[in-house]
Symmetry: C2
Subunit: 282 residues, 2 copies
């Protein structure tokens, strides 16, 4: 048994999927569900995802062994301050945010020494959002990063790693700053590239639905992601995303220069390096 | 029956798939297969794709009602000059190249009035290449553009449209210059974006295989395309690709500026417009 009870704060895709995943691996678990919107909490109950729900987060977290924050990153500090006084000293708190340095540095002192906070980033998601899109198998076989600070207690880190492994995730431990630098490259930059591509094509007055093949569809799929969630991510991780996006803009400018100069060797080199790199990472 | 015999020049993915597709819809058809590499022609025969093969293209095209050029675009003019004297006046020639203005303007006068040439762009492909990757259903339900010039005979245009429709393609007629402008946006620009993204991530020393989720995988899939084929496309359509790639570089620079200014409203606007556009075209 993972624990007798888990509090999930946030009634979106990740919160709902997490509740479903927990109940799949451990049917006896009690899930407490908290959030701002009573209608979403009722929906969670109707979907069989919650044993107790409340918009009063102090009630939600009471006596729970785990608290998992599944809300937008920018709301986490105020939620942390609201729940911290109501946690028992056997509670472990983690989150599912996509940027980690600011989250870990901000939340760790709010929870203090008595209730350890360790950041997590389960790398599972969808361009669909909301409780209705929740899937209990969302986490299975996906990657997860756990991001302790230097002072995080080792046995708590192990417990958080075990929590996600129990849901079928491949877990690795990485410090928050390195995590943010990596996801800026492999997750946040692809989103910017996809969104920019969609807009350039629209600006040119070209309708891709009559012409776009699978190349257009795949390359731009993630541009349909929830704007509010991505705004949250971009602002939280801007220190890492800014240099990455600059590099992408410059790389495209290099390609333009090579095209303008009819530089076969530079273009072939560009295409060959990209193919070799892509082939080596599938 | 489409015709009694079709000559396919070029033993790659498209030539092989075309042979398989023709034999699927019309088992009685004779396929003549021509190319530079005898080993590939033997493979085509062994795969049941060819009834006659030769590296001598004059022999390949002799008495065929259709000739379909499935080679790299830059080889087409010399192939056209080699076969033009050997075509009957009932032959129709088309091609499968991804850029059309230069192809149509160059090949039409080589074939002259007696043998009409009409360009085609069946928008089907794969990041896999070569005869071994050929699939007889590659064209089914895919888009195809036929690109006549103003002086192209109407009944020949109709025949070329019918040829691709018979293979299950959705065909539309567009002039070559407009075609090139559109594919620069929906096909060639996504390739550049995917390749640039892969290289920026590699340059940053980040290994996406341990971290990349489905976002990275989908956004960069086409970067694994054949470098030689893509070099051919980029050079043939550079006049249209250069301004498109410049716009993408500038769009990313705009995002960098918004991030540097912590400009929530510009970033949200960017993300919302991209989502709306992407949602409207799936």
């Amino acid at each position: 048994m993972l624990s007798d009870s888990v509090a999930i704060i946030g009634t979106g895709l990740l919160g709902g999927s997490l509740a479903g995943a927990l109940k799949t691996v451990d049917p006896g678990i009690r899930v407490h569900f908290g959030g701002r919107r009573a209608a979403a909490l009722e929906e969670a109950t109707a979907m069989g995802l919650a044993d107790f729900t409340s918009t009063n987060l102090a009630e939600v977290v009471k006596d729970c062994q785990w608290v998992i924050l599944c809300t937008p990153i920018e709301t986490m500090p105020s939620i942390a301050r609201a729940i911290a006084p109501h946690l028992s000293d056997r509670t472990i708190v983690t989150d599912v945010g996509s940027a980690k340095r600011s989250v870990c540095e901000t939340l760790t002192p709010i929870f203090g020494d008595r209730t350890p906070f360790i950041g997590s980033h389960p790398m599972a998601g969808s361009e669909r959002t909301g409780l209705a899109a929740a899937r209990p198998d969302l986490f299975r076989q996906a990657n997860c990063v756990v991001t302790p600070l230097a002072e995080s207690p080792e046995q708590t880190v192990d417990a958080v790693v075990g929590f996600w492994q129990r849901l079928g995730m491949h877990v690795r431990i990485i410090d928050p700053t390195t995590h943010d630098r990596i996801v800026a490259q492999v997750s946040h930059l692809p989103h910017l590239a996809a969104a920019a591509l969609v807009e350039v094509i629209a600006d040119a007055g070209v309708d891709p639905s009559t012409f776009g093949g699978s190349g257009y569809r795949d390359t731009t799929r993630i541009a349909a992601g929830a704007p509010g969630m991505w705004l949250d991510i971009l602002l939280e991780n801007r220190d890492e995303i800014i240099p990455a996006a600059k590099q992408l803009s410059l790389k495209l400018q290099d390609v333009v220069t090579a095209l303008e100069n009819n530089d076969r060797s530079a273009l072939l080199d560009f295409l060959q390096r990209a193919k070799a790199q892509r082939d080596s990472t599938t």
